[in-house]
């Protein structure tokens, strides 16, 4: 019964979305206030109905209702509760349901929180948002219905892929989707503004918090995925330049550019049409990402041909929304006139450079991701584009970005002097230089990466600190705490980028790896640590069997840690997973993996010393925190009231 209720609610939501897409739009065009006002309840109803549908599916998973095909294919009675719940989005159909749930959540949030939006703009924003919702609800209902029943319900399910049975990955998709789908708000605002033909500072102020929120969630989602890969895949890789990863990285880069260009529109009323274009492209990349992941086209053209219906459907959605928005853009972009003027050396100039670097970096990732497809379609060449290409083609843009960032962040608006801006950064420059000398002194061999990465990272961190210090002016520390939260957010996020730079470069340059056969009780040396395999035993888990190793790590004869790497086998899917044992430290992780028993005794053991690994995700966490802090800035909280009083004296028509 539950499944039918869920299915029915989804059909109703589809109908409501179509209503919400048509009626408020017409109302806004004709100025009919009743039709305009219908957008709000419709947005709330659409969210409520999809939520009912989602809860129905979740209940089917929690109660292991194997008469629902999706539950049978992705769940098992012995699975822990948390993975029964995460199993809801651990498959194609359920993840699309989560996608539209979040889409409707953003629509409902816009309906509730943006009470100060002009009614016609709000109606159009919600109308555009609903059109995206309707397209994807149609996609689910016609090609990916999660509520299909089985005629003969089996006794037990086929279980979720063991790799996905992990806390890091359980929450990775929801955050990623909050980011992906959150960019739909920027898109809706952009299209609504194009229809209205008006983009001003107020528009930028409305659109920026949504973009910021989406970017923060995207940052958290990507970091969670990367962290999961680090501890779960068994050798500590954290980024693979895989098409599916790139699919999430491209919108992140474009959203980062959009965040910065929206500031220019808000403060100076220039870069308007560019910002609109970025807003369209940011969501466009989200849709491209969804298409890449859902259709499987990049991994193999053949898997796409096997199930073309879904891929073609999403491609049609992508073509309609991005194509339509770009068409609208070409007609209306000319009407958006830039107001402010500025010298090349100025904050505006620096932010233009920021946008160039981020947008071109996103383009490089895009071309590398789709190149195998282009090559196969155009020249019938089967080739691969992977890590070595991206490291060479992408890194220069990040290096350039890091070099100019601290300088651009403190340049004054309108007109600045390069030498004058550099003066307060002398300290930061000296600090970065000192770090580079230190890193050069302690590294042996391949040190270029470590020296440059650590130098740029310290330059970013010290630059962010200088930025904060300059903002306090002469009044010193007491002012520091009373700075606008946007200033704090900016400094924290820029510093976080520096922390991530340091983590990535030092980990890649200084990692130590050891692969060997270890016998019980035998010690071996890795880096400056002595590692001993103390014991091995078999232990049953809730839905798996485990080979459980006990290993000690000592340094200079003193025990540092006792670690328990595991190797699990999930019998339902007959699939082994490795559970690396990691001792986290500020300056290094010790990472141990137990492998197979060898024929002539002993066990395969891989040991890693991973310097500064945690800095990668600490930096991401700081970037996300900076975003949140900036989001809580006063201007977003009080703008509502200010606007309402200004609008009050208008005479009624």
């Amino acid at each position: 019964m539950n499944a039918e209720i869920g299915h029915f609610a989804l059909i109703l939501a589809f109908a409501v979305a179509i209503f919400q897409m048509v009626v408020p739009m017409i109302g806004a065009q004709k100025g009919w206030s009743g039709w305009i006002d219908s957008a709000r309840p419709a947005a709330l109803a659409q969210f409520g109905l999809i939520a009912i549908s989602f809860v129905a599916l979740t209940m089917a998973f929690v109660s292991s209702d194997f008469s629902v095909r999706l539950v049978y294919e992705n769940s098992h009675t012995a699975k822990p509760l948390i993975y029964k719940i995460s199993g809801v989005w651990g498959n194609h159909e359920g993840s699309m349901l989560l996608w539209v749930l979040i889409l409707a959540l953003f629509g409902a949030a816009a309906a509730v929180f943006d009470a100060n939006l002009p009614p016609s703009l709000r109606a159009r924003v919600l109308g555009v948002q609903a059109s995206v919702g309707a397209a994807f609800l149609g996609f689910i209902l016609f090609t990916s219905n999660p509520f299909l029943r089985l005629d003969n319900p089996p006794f037990d399910g086929r279980d979720l892929n063991p790799l996905l049975q992990d806390p890091g990955l359980a929450f990775h998709p929801p955050f990623l989707y909050l980011g992906y789908v959150g960019l739909s708000m920027a898109f809706s605002f952009a299209v609504a503004a194009l229809i209205e033909g008006r983009v001003d500072a107020a528009w930028a102020r409305w659109v920026r918090p949504w973009t910021l929120a989406a970017w923060v969630f995207l940052t958290i989602g990507i970091a969670l995925g990367s962290w999961w890969a680090y501890y779960e895949l068994g050798w500590g890789g954290f980024w693979f330049w895989d098409p599916v990863e790139n699919a999430s990285f491209m919108p992140w880069l474009v959203a980062a550019a959009l965040l910065h260009s929206a500031i220019v529109v808000e403060k100076r009323e220039v870069l308007k049409s560019w910002t609109i274009l970025l807003a369209i492209m940011a969501f466009g990349f989200s849709l491209i990402g969804t298409f890449i992941v859902r259709s499987g086209i990049i991994t193999s053209v053949h898997s796409f041909a096997n199930d073309p219906e879904r891929g073609v459907f999403i491609l049609a959605i992508l073509a309609f929304f991005v194509g339509g928005a770009l068409l609208l853009f070409t007609f209306r972009a000319g009407s958006m006139q830039a107001k402010g003027v500025f010298a090349p050396v100025s904050r505006e100039g620096a932010l233009v450079l920021n946008n160039i670097l981020l947008a071109v970096a996103a383009f490089v990732v895009f071309i590398g991701t789709v190149w195998p497809l282009i090559a196969e379609l155009a020249w019938d060449r089967k080739l691969s584009v992977g890590t070595p290409f991206f490291e060479k083609a992408f890194t220069p843009f990040m290096v350039a970005l890091a070099i100019v960032l601290p300088l651009g962040a403190i340049l004054p608006w309108k007109r600045g002097k390069l030498m004058r801006a550099l003066r307060p950064l002398r300290g930061a420059l000296a600090f970065a230089g000192a770090v580079m000398v230190l890193v050069f002194a302690v590294s042996t061999g391949r040190s270029g990466l470590a020296v440059i990465g650590a130098g740029l990272g310290s330059w970013l961190i010290a630059g962010a600190a200088t930025d904060l210090w300059l903002r306090t002016g002469k009044s010193g520390l007491s002012r520091l705490l009373r700075l606008p939260r946007a200033d704090w957010g900016k400094a924290i996020a820029h510093g976080g980028l520096g922390v991530t730079f340091i983590g990535i470069s030092l980990l890649m340059a200084w990692q130590v790896e050891d692969i060997r056969v270890a016998r019980l009780g035998e010690s071996f040396t890795v880096g400056s640590y002595q590692i001993t395999l103390e014991g091995i035993e078999e232990r049953p888990g809730p839905n798996y069997d485990s080979i459980f190793a006990t290993m000690t790590v000592a340094r200079n004869g003193k025990q540092v840690a006792q670690l328990y790497p595991e190797k699990r086998v999930y019998p339902v899917q007959a699939m082994p997973t490795t559970e690396a044992a990691i001792q986290n430290g500020i300056f290094r992780d010790i990472y141990l993996v137990i492998g197979d028993e060898q024929q002539n005794g002993g066990w395969a053991v891989r040991s890693y010393i991973k310097p500064f690994a945690n800095w990668i995700w600490l930096g991401c966490a700081l970037m996300a925190l900076g975003g949140f802090v900036s989001l809580s800035d006063r201007r977003y909280r009080v703008a509502a009231g200010a606007r309402r009083t200004a609008a009050a004296p208008q005479p009624a028509e």
């Binding site: 651990g90 498959n91 892929n161 790799l163 996905l164 990775h172 998709p173 995925g225 890969a229 779960e232 895949l233 068994g234 693979f240 895989d242 599916v244 999430s248 220039v270 992941v293 499987g296 991994t299 830039a338 402010g340 003027v341 500025f342 010298a343 090349p344 505006e348 233009v352 946008n355 160039i356 947008a359 071109v360 383009f363 490089v364 071309i367 590398g368 090559a375 155009a378 020249w379 060449r381 089967k382 080739l383 691969s384 584009v385 992977g386 890590t387 070595p388 290409f389 060479k392 083609a393 992408f394 843009f397 692969i515 060997r516 056969v517 899917q573 490795t578 197979d596 395969a604 053991v605």
Partner: protein, 150 residues
């Protein structure tokens, strides 16, 4: 099922104890070279994994093969060439810069130059506007008048 992992997980590699202890060469210099090579070669049957990470039997065979060649005295380029000959350029994670692939390598720098040029032109246009005497259009004059009256 592989497709589902892909769809959901973002990361494709299977949990792998890729390089096994019995594969490791005694000569550390040769072993380092072998690892560098195996990090740019793609496992022919997996989804986006290098043969260094991969758990598949064919990747193990390839790892053993390239070590054999290295021990026999081949250069890195010769080893890569030999593997490519057998499996096609599909196994190279860094596509060779020949034929149409030049486009791939030039796309980034060209886009950067184009963007810098466009950005510079935009900045110059904003800069000049400052020096220009502020001539108001009729519409703007009317609007100014309206504002002044309020």
């Amino acid at each position: 099922m592989r497709a589902l992992i892909l769809i959901l997980s973002l990361f494709l590699a299977l949990p792998a104890l890729a390089v096994q202890p019995d594969e490791v060469l005694d000569d550390p210099a040769l072993e380092t070279r072998a690892r560098e090579i195996s990090k740019i070669l793609r496992c022919p049957v997996c989804q986006g994994e290098t043969i260094d990470e991969s758990n598949a039997p064919i990747s193990r065979d390839l790892r053993l093969y390239l070590r054999e060649r290295l021990v026999a005295g081949d250069s890195d380029a010769e080893v890569v060439e030999a593997v490519t000959e057998r499996f096609g350029e599909y196994v190279l994670f860094e596509p060779p810069a020949r034929g149409a692939n030049w486009l791939l390598y030039l796309a980034g720098p060209l886009a950067a130059l184009l963007a810098l040029f466009a950005g510079w032109r935009f900045i110059r246009s904003r800069d000049l506007a400052e020096d220009r005497p502020a001539a108001l259009s009729d519409e703007e004059k009317a609007r100014l008048e309206r504002i002044m009256r309020d």
